[in-house]
Amino acid sequence: MGEFLFEALVEDMPVSHQKAAREFLAEKIEEFLKEHRFSYDKLEVFSTPRRLTVAIYGELSAPPGEELVVGPPVNLSFDEEGNPTPAALGFARRLGVEVEELERIEKEKGEYLAYRIKKEAPSFREVFPPFLSELLARIPFPKTMRWDGHRFSRRVKSILALMDGQEVEMEAFGFRATRITKGHRIFAPIFVQASSVGDYLQGLKDAFVVVKNEERLEMIARGLEVEAQGYQPPPGRVLEFWRDSVEYPNVFSGSFPEKYMELPPEIITSSLEEEMGLYLLRNEDGPVNRFIGVADNPNSDLSKVIAGNERVVKAKLEDALYFWRKDREKSLEVLRQELENVLYNDVVGSYLKKTQRLESLAKGLISSALADPILKEAASLCKSDLVTELVGEFPSLQGVAGGLILRHQGKPEKLWRAVYDHYKPGGTGEELPSTTEGKLLSLIDKLDHLVVAFATGYRPSGSGDPLGVRRAALGIIRLLVEGNLQLDLSGLIDAAIGLLAEEITLTSNLKDEIEEFILKRAEQKFSSEGYPIQHIRAVLEAEGLRLPVAYSKLKALERIKDSEALTALIQTHRRIKNITLGQEPKKLAPERFSSPYEKNLLEILTTVDSASQVFIEKMDYLSLLDGLLSVVPFINDLFENLMIMDKDQEVRENRIALLQMADEVLSRFIDFTRLQEP
């Protein structure tokens, strides 16, 4: 079996750059291999801070190919006598063939002359290296370094490329590829020569570099079994950070003086995790004064590493304690006045003004009985912590710090929790606020952010969204759908726009743009969860910003999405629509029904209709859908046994009226014909 190996040796790439780079390379290389029909068994991409590695295993051969060249339309290629025109002759001449050798192909706009140029089977060794060089330059890093006319995450030191044990001619970043790389910077700063992928991996392992990311993760897991036994395991985010920040992981643990446990664990975590990559240990009773970390050091004795980390942890916690003791005595009402000087947006002004808008939105929610009156106080105080020393030192504690201060001052849990949680959910997969008031505060905060951004002319671009409006929109969607908030989002947007209209001039289509933006994000979110796009569009079209309803319907449909029952329902609804389309509403006269088919259908429609009101009220769309499915056979019986378009006008109109009723009942869910292209 053949194989290809590439490595770029780099000066330390940030952890935050690596995952996206690996995924980008894997995706684009796979596309390339498929496009050129190269046979391969496996593609692997690895990274450490110092290297980016690609290994491809398999024959790496491709069948001969052909390129289709399309020429002039056939009707312009031959004159009335069937002789080739100059257009046809010119096309043939350019290809160096006779007109007779050309073939005809059908295209959308008609028939065209065409020719298939035979191509030799591409050689992997020739076509892949230049593709890879060009691909490396396109990796979308969050930020790149520029040096000597090159750009990459960080400065590249050398490149290695091998195919079936042979060096490959390849150039990138001003280097020619060799078969040589280097071992661990401190523990084996030696050259490592590779003649195969296996050789490369083993040679580097001997030089204290574990190339495979998953292997480093396993080493960390084994280390945790020793160092963190009896404690809760660190979350995936921490494990991935450790994995991608070292070449040879070695788990260690340490402790700090008990007195710093006076600090809320959130603050200890910020000091330890964000700045030092250490994780605070927890047992069933909560956090303890111990931490674990991962060193890039293969030695069994890490005593100096531990002692050093313990000294730094102590110093940081001492600082944090100083800030916490100062901040926790401060009044958030007083701090709020300082927000006048903190700019939120250069058109609409300070954070103080923002909290005033949030207060107004909160009042609206309270008066429509959606929230506890304490939401207003939470809205007014939620940004005060921006001027605390804690948030100055640990920006990620925004919200949390305010909540902790309120809790320390003995304020009600509903109040402090709402402030504490109101930035949640920060990103995909992050948890929602735990209380209704927290969810509502988060919702109006994000909504105000979105409205202010759009009102001041900001639009996210394909590549960038510095104000994070996509994240805000996604947060709003998750709060509504997963947080199951029953509120009128459309009205809330109107209210948020209304508050801004008092300050600045707004464009008339602002609401439409915001609505469209949120719906587009909802479509993408639901689609990423695996729901069929036709279903998503149908429910969003029906429900608009009533996102929880749209989502419930989507979930109900999911249960029957591949079933014949759904296909039948769609077909039946289409048959109904084919008849009722364009018809004036007709009056139903049940007393004139002569057949059991009409009577039976009416009976079941009436039953389902009254039940549907209850289901809709309870948002039980599964039951509603079940009800509708039970109607389908009766409609079909009607179609199969009766002519709808009876000669008698009264009979005809009465049957149409019955189908109009059926349409109305089915449409309580959605227009099912939208689920499938006709």
Binding site: H17, K304, A315
Partner: protein, 285 residues
């Protein structure tokens, strides 16, 4: 190893790498980057290898001598090499060995940290270097200074002297460090920290500082028009320090902060423009 021995060792090491050892600049600056030996020289075309100690003042970091880690004035050891040598990271590792750090007993990390100096229109790509979790060095490849792309990329290595010394002495109180000559850091500097904290936070005359800022700013602009680049730059540094004092006195709101920074940056960028458009991009120093 005392602080003075640490400085001697670093000077010796970098002199051996071909650096000239400059002396500290005689104005208040927030960092070694701000002195003309870095800011002005990285903008010029010539190759550059320089190292020096620079006392750096950050008024808002003062803690009245009560915090064992934070001080309003600390010492930086600054190295600039342009172009950045190909094996600069290895050279840096050897400098750590030269001051007695046995790297195989420790955990050395290059943690992402892209340095930025908004008042100078300067930024770079690089790392803070952590030794057993302690930040001992800022390592930066400059990308821009004075708002201008640097065609030849310089590397800046800034060692925190006190941090390194705390590591070497395994102490967790800055004032207990051995300066050399039988003196501790505290004996030589504690009084200064106490008095300057009081000055920086409580006593500095805001009205005077606002006036001074205006005067320095105006003077910098006037000198720049006369082509006196270095004196103009001195006044940028004076503006910058005055701004830092106003900041620690709480005289500048968050909104105004940005405006002050932009005012300083504006002159720094004009200076950069003058230097790079001069004949061969050179000024005589």
């Amino acid at each position: 190893m005392s602080i003075q021995d640490l400085i001697f060792s670093l000077q010796r090491f970098w002199a051996e790498q071909g650096c000239f050892i400059a002396q500290p600049y005689d104005l208040e600056v927030g960092a070694g980057t701000m002195t003309p030996d870095t800011f002005i020289r990285v903008l010029q075309e010539e190759e550059l290898k320089v190292a020096y100690v620079q006392p750096s003042r950050r008024p808002a970091d003062g803690r009245y001598g009560e915090n064992p880690h934070r001080v309003a004035k600390h010492y930086q050891f600054q190295v600039i090499m342009k172009p950045a040598p190909e094996d600069i990271i290895n050279i840096y590792l050897r400098s750590l060995e030269a001051i007695g750090i046995e790297l195989t007993s420790h955990d050395l990390r290059f943690a992402e940290d892209d340095w930025e100096a908004p008042t100078l229109g300067a930024w770079g790509i690089g790392w803070q270097i952590l030794l057993d979790g302690l930040e001992i060095t800022q390592f930066t490849y400059f990308q821009q200074a004075g708002g201008r792309d640097l065609r030849v990329v310089p590397v800046e290595i800034t060692y925190g002297i006190e941090r390194l010394e705390m590591f070497l002495e395994e102490k967790d109180n800055i004032y207990e460090l051995d300066w050399g000559g039988g003196k501790t850091y505290g004996e030589l500097r504690l009084q200064e920290e106490k008095e300057f904290s009081k000055y920086n936070f409580e006593e500095a005359d805001r009205e005077m500082l606002f006036r001074l800022f205006e005067m320095f700013e105006e003077e910098a602009g006037r000198l720049l028009e006369k082509g006196l680049i270095l004196p103009a730059y001195d006044h940028v540094l004076k503006c910058s320090h005055t701004f830092n004092l106003l900041d620690s006195r709480g005289a500048i709101s968050v909104g105004e902060r940005t405006k002050f920074i932009l005012r300083i940056r504006d002159i720094a960028c004009k200076i950069a423009e003058k230097i790079t458009e001069g004949k061969d991009g050179r000024v005589s120093l």
